[in-house]
Symmetry: C2
Subunit: 282 residues, 2 copies
């Protein structure tokens, strides 16, 4: 292990959504200090090309590494989908993404359903970038070649969450539009392939159950990712911090006040001061 | 006038929407060559802070000026709302935005309605950034202090347009959510304060008429802005190009193929090759 053992865990996302991962990390590893970066000046990443996402991800990682983190948690599905292998190759520290843990949880969920007349399928809702990357089918295939993945881009879910429009006819109809083709295609578990989606998780579960005629498990990668980080600490792949309740530092690239105002909705705790940082290269 | 007389008109927006302004310019001034820049790597601007929008706008303007434009058309309501005066002060060429021309058209529309029992109000739908800036109330007040402006942020309209979801129950309900408070507040004209919105203009007009019980004029700034540019050429504030059908050059900062695929929907003509440019500073 490097001398980074005493640094915080670094977590980043394009915006707010990754705070659901921070929340899960603080439950799983309460004594680990965390520094979170939301790239709110360039959010969303999910509609951008892989080349641009890679460029933005490198900038976020560099800023956190300059602050002395001991491990990097990529709390963004789009970055995890298109840039994780590259970040792992380039960076000299442990890097964990959200796609692999989510895929593992989904496989466990469908394994529990075996015994019916046909092999269950794994449905994935994600951003255009995540779906185009094929990252979920790849991650599932690395765990088991038994299960087919059907993935669908759901571009209106992020704006609905950011607008805070989480109840009522419009969110329900939008969710239905995206869930219906997955259930029709035989999905018997749904992976929320974007850190914003858990805030619409109740509607997604309700619509899926209504359409399928039975409960459909809905996988939120946040908890699975926190479990993966804890496993890595238990395996000494990430050094652990001393016991105690650890601090949380929040950084954004734009609009710290707006971020602070809505962050508690994601984080489930009071939000510390949010600092503005500059990610412009050069 | 400067030696820039032979250069093209430079037009920029955060993404695709400004192409509606390009379309109007090509109808109004067919012999003017145009170079268009869509900052698709950082779209949308409407949710960002004024400081960030100013920084992005400077970068776009600099790139177009380096290409020898003779005048700059800011085809983005958010930039026009928060950065136009600053661009005018900093840049040594004519700069036209979309807010002033739209406000002028709206005032003309309500003037035509005078004579009723109360003074008509001007309703504006825009991005969070445009509404927060107060640019429309300011622009209207400069024309006449007689009219009050009610402005509302409509953050889901851009994602609906970018998704191409322009018909059916969901777009109608979303439009209704934003139009209803404006009609309730007494708006008797609606300004589409974002270049994306004209693609939902039919639904906005239908819902406004249904709610108001009479037709409500809907102002699209694109034509008004093209008229303003033509006026400036007639007044020799912008030098004119020789007669003939002029070229159109399209630049974007991300995903040129995606841009090309949907641009014709905005532009109303076949789209020339789209080039990728880099706006990273430094």
């Amino acid at each position: 292990m490097t001398a980074r053992g005493s640094g915080p865990l670094g977590v980043f996302d394009s915006g707010l959504g990754g705070l659901t991962v921070v929340r899960a990390l603080r439950l799983a590893l309460p004594s680990e200090p965390i520094i979170y970066l939301g790239d709110t000046a360039r959010v969303p990443y999910g509609t951008r090309s892989a080349e641009t996402v890679v460029r933005y991800a490198r900038g976020c990682a560099r800023l956190l590494i300059d602050r002395g983190i001991k491990a990097l948690v990529v709390a963004c599905n789009t970055v995890s989908a298109v840039a994780l292998e590259l970040l792992r190759a380039e960076l000299d520290l442990p890097v964990i993404g959200v796609v692999e843990p989510g895929a593992r949880t989904a496989v466990r969920a469908v394994e529990g359903q075996l015994g019916g007349t046909r092999v269950p399928r794994i449905g994935v809702l994600g951003t255009a970038g995540t779906v185009a990357s094929g990252a979920y089918p790849r991650a599932v295939a690395q765990i088991s070649t038994r299960y087919e993945v059907v993935a669908l881009a759901a571009p209106l879910l992020v704006p609905l969450v950011e607008e805070g429009w989480l109840e009522g006819e419009v969110p329900r109809l939008v969710v239905r539009r995206y869930v219906e083709p997955l259930i029709d295609a035989g999905a018997s578990v749904l992976v929320l392939g974007c850190t914003h989606y858990p805030l619409l998780g109740h509607l997604i579960a309700e619509e899926a159950e209504r359409l399928a005629g039975r409960p459909i498990p809905v996988v939120d990668s946040a908890a699975a990712t926190a479990d993966a980080v804890r496993e890595w600490t238990l395996e000494d792949r990430i050094p652990t911090a001393p016991e105690g309740i650890a601090g949380l530092e929040l950084l954004v690239t734009d609009r710290p006040q707006t971020f602070a105002a809505v962050a508690s909705r994601f984080l489930g705790e009071d939000v510390p001061e949010v600092s503005l940082v500059d990610l412009s290269p050069g």
